[in-house]
Chain length 443, copies 2
């Protein structure tokens, strides 16, 4: 009788622009355009070689060269992930789509389509779109934070309802009788809510995963509630272990109220690993990356993240006691808390933000990085990690080639894909038709 | 000195569901699901082997198993074409997106993305969405015909404007200086119109084709005007040569009023070829296909196409003198005209509609089919054809393997792709930045 296998770690690759370091594209040899499908194919191949659970693409709905230059121009997520579906065969594919600036019929349809195209690897990262600048591209007023989450709650319910309009075996295509679809196995949704009226059914049959996977990253209380009620995977923003443990415990504690178990949702804190063959090599690399930061965009980046004009403050002075506005990024709250704990200057905060936009930076030898990830994973801080490479390709392939094998040796991470779908990788059941709509209606 | 090459024919492959014959999926061995990416890959490979200019995917925004069963379930066009971009290398990729149930920022962005992913092969089939049933999936009232076209005129102008916000060389990515984007080379659109307010710029750089190709198929007077003003390729619905010649002449005559030449727009009448190695084989195949039609959905299909309840009429009686409603398909007008010319019964019309939904059916040996296409092409009826196979794969591969070689032998069709982009295939210049917005503002 073999020993029980230890609990398995899950790994997501976060991609948005040319890497998570604000100036990582300046690294010699780095990918400098996130519109280059050949480079993106290579990133996908590396992630699949590393047996990652999924690739997950963030998004913004506006162009602002000041905030993070390499984020201003990029491929649209659903088209990019659909293309990646063809050059990969096993890895999950997560695309961001907004519940504030989209409509549920189109979103449900597109992700069902991606799930068919990829044979069960689609995931929707549902976001409410924090930045008010987006509104001007859609001729709309930007709803406030609580309104955005009220809309999102209904939006996700409608999408999950649309995904369940078709029975799995509704498409009959019986050439002999001429029956193509069994009409008794397709039903409309007839949703009539506060924000959306959607009749349905969807014009695509039930997805290979039944319901594509839903990802969320909301850090606020309404964001946590939305995730606890509707998400399969949660990304979080943390800066240290204690914070991660507290967030993890608090989030998992919310699940029973929605009829869900702790293991029903995979929680992945974001981490920017800077890996070297030695500790020295890693810190040299981080120093080189930080050397690419410039004062000129420091205050712009801070202003964008904090949702308020920071140029009135001295970059080398203390972090001011600002009130975060409604539209703040969860990064900002985490950073301000850390600054107060550790007495950081505004420049210190900028350096941290520039490195990983507020995410945890983990710098060290491959062994040190693996040790720390294992420690977090085993001490109630994470079900795995959302890996945010500072740049591509080396900034990611080093993690895959140096860190992943150590995690595998320790039995913490798969040595091969064991299933075919993203749900398989995450250890999530394929939900029967009707389960999700009933759960959401009851909660 | 070689003789001048004859004018070249253009070929598009139209795909929507499992084929253009309403019951073509019942053909033994036919593709029975249009959600099967392996089958769609094979269709793309066949079209590229046949050196087609483009694949063009139609769409609907609702599911109605009654109207055309195989159209009810299918992949979403943009995700599907993005996937096809990876399994093909030269053929143009056209996806349908609605100007009534979409927004211009998202549409402009998605097609620019497809153009980057495919290295210059994207085309947008801009439709106004005729069927009012769609509205219920978007919680909206369906605008009437003239309103839809007023919206579409503005929508297309905004999309073309957004595509031109970036100079071709705005993305600098100069690692030495740290300049990623040259801000002087990116500008907002600041559109403030009757239907749309869109600030811009787009969050993706200028497309490889400058402006992705725009396709249109409107048959009404406002549809023709929209196409003459804004489209690069026009699909048309015709039943015979005289009608095609009249449409061709009338459409091309509209172009000078918008500052355009006849050769600036490629006009492709739709044709459903039923090809055999002999004439007998072709007619046997058509008879087999028509044998799959059933009375039960005959009146449903007619009702859908005519936009009015046809079940009150006798299927074997004469075609009634109905007034076409605002939302009619152009198919309906063409069919009614033909029925009056030729004294057809309602069943005759149904048989024609069932065969190709109102499009021209061209049945014969490969030689006969090539002869007829050449005759149309050389007598002022077409710049090429929108090929609508009755079913896949044989219903299409026979055209590629039997008819295309004859057209090539006659010097009417390319023997190899000569350019890399869809614009190259169509013989259209890559427009300089500013040309389209200026033209649309003036017209």
């Amino acid at each position: 009788m073999s020993a029980p296998r230890p609990r398995q770690m899950h790994l997501g690759l976060f991609i948005l622009g040319t890497g998570s370091h604000v100036a990582g594209w300046r690294q010699p040899g780095a990918v400098t355009s996130f519109e280059d499908m050949a480079a993106i194919r290579e990133i996908g191949a590396t992630a699949e070689r590393g047996l990652f659970d999924l690739i997950f693409m963030g998004d913004n709905l506006y162009a602002d060269p000041a905030a993070h230059p390499s984020y201003t121009s990029r491929l649209e997520p659903l088209t990019m992930l659909s293309a990646l579906a063809m050059s990969t065969s096993r890895i999950g594919l997560g695309a961001t789509a907004s519940t504030t600036y989209g409509d549920p019929f189109s979103v449900a349809r597109a992700f069902a389509s991606l799930d068919h195209i990829s044979a069960g690897r689609a995931a929707w990262n549902a976001v409410t779109t924090a930045n008010a600048v987006s509104a001007a591209n859609f001729g709309r007023d930007h709803p406030d934070h609580s309104q955005r989450y009220a809309i999102a709650e209904e939006f996700v319910s409608v999408v999950r309802g649309l995904w369940d309009c078709w029975d799995d075996d509704a498409l009959v295509a019986d050439a002999a009788s001429g029956l193509y679809i069994d009409p008794a196995k397709v039903r409309s949704l007839d949703h009539d809510g506060a924000f959306f009226q959607v009749k349905g059914p969807l014009n695509i049959s039930r997805a290979p995963q039944g319901q594509p996977v839903i990802l969320q990253a909301g850090g606020s209380a309404p964001g946590q509630r939305l995730a606890a009620r509707t998400a399969d995977v949660v990304f979080s923003v943390v800066q240290d272990l204690g914070e991660a443990q507290a967030q993890y415990a608090a989030f998992k504690a919310q699940l029973p109220a929605f009829g869900r178990r702790a293991e029903d949702v995979t929680m992945l804190p974001g981490v920017m690993p800077v890996v070297g063959r030695t500790e020295r090599e890693a810190f040299d690399r981080l120093a080189a990356l930080q050397g690419f930061l410039s004062d000129s965009n420091a205050l712009q980046l801070l202003s964008d993240r904090f949702g308020t004009d920071m140029s009135v403050y001295d970059l080398d002075g203390p972090v001011p006691d600002i009130a975060l506005p409604d539209s703040y990024h969860s990064f900002a709250g985490v950073m301000l808390a850390k600054a107060r704990r550790e007495g950081l200057s505004l420049r210190d905060v900028y350096n941290l933000m520039g490195a990983a936009r507020g995410h945890w930076v983990l710098c060290g030898s491959a062994e040190q990085v693996a040790d720390t990830l294992q420690h977090w994973f085993e001490s109630g801080a994470a079900d795995g990690f959302n890996v945010m490479p500072p740049f591509f390709h080396e900034g990611f392939s080093d993690f895959v080639d140096l860190v992943v094998p150590i995690l595998q040796e320790r039995g913490l991470f798969r040595a091969a894909y064991e299933g075919a779908t993203l749900r398989d990788h995450l250890g999530l059941d394929r939900p029967a038709r009707g389960v999700w709509p009933a759960r959401l209606a009851a909660s």
